[in-house]
Amino acid sequence: MLTAIFMYLKVFLVGGIICMIAELIEIKTKITPARILVIFLMIGAILGGFGIYNYLVEWAGAGATVPITGFGNALARGAIDGAISNGLFGAIGGGLMATSAGVAVSIGLSYLVSFFVSSKSKKN
């Protein structure tokens, strides 16, 4: 029980600190959110490519995988795992394969939702 509470504390701390760094960058340098997303994705992909990010995932669980750096890590790890198991084909497609479910759900469900919901500002 105590280890579970400690685990959730670690998740909260790591996830919160990653978001706090992004907020600090946004306030201090006025970089737009889209650019910050790309920068964090790149950091995650580089750390994932060298295998450093996996230690953070083991230590903090969802605190490391849910932020966009975890998405970059999943892309890089997928490409590496693909290269090991499927050779050149896996090296090219592995990243997308590892993250395909999330990307597919966000595109498909957004498409579906946009049929039923209209933006409020356009109506007036």
Binding site: A22, M42, I68, A79
Partner: protein, 151 residues
Amino acid sequence: MNKAERNEEYLEYVERQTPKTGWFNSLFHAFIVGGTICCLGQMFGDIIKAFNPTMDILRVGSWVNVIIITITILFTAFGFFDRIAKFGGAGTFIPISGFANSISSCAIEFKNEGLVFGIGSKMFFVAGPVLVNGVAYSIIVGLIYYICLLF
């Protein structure tokens, strides 16, 4: 000359009048909201693992992302997400919920411009750069690793 002076005065006035929310406060909000979303993710993961103890950790992570994305898009559709995003700042757009929200809110926003050039292309206004960069990095990492494996 007179105009420049007036502009300067006006800028000072704007500076005085804008409410000082304080950057420390928004940092704290980002920390709280970001941490909470990650904890929710961990909770979903624990529930999945309780039902499926044999599932490997990567598959669990994918499932967690799928659940968070689904909840975010539904929240965006019902209009709750804007309020959370206003409060949380980077705490909502750095977790995977920001990626999902950017796609769904752009799809809803540009619905009026048609199926192909409205929803179909404007959907990726923010998510497009993320996807393009992410896929490009993953191919680079994969190719480097493949070449390293050959020797």
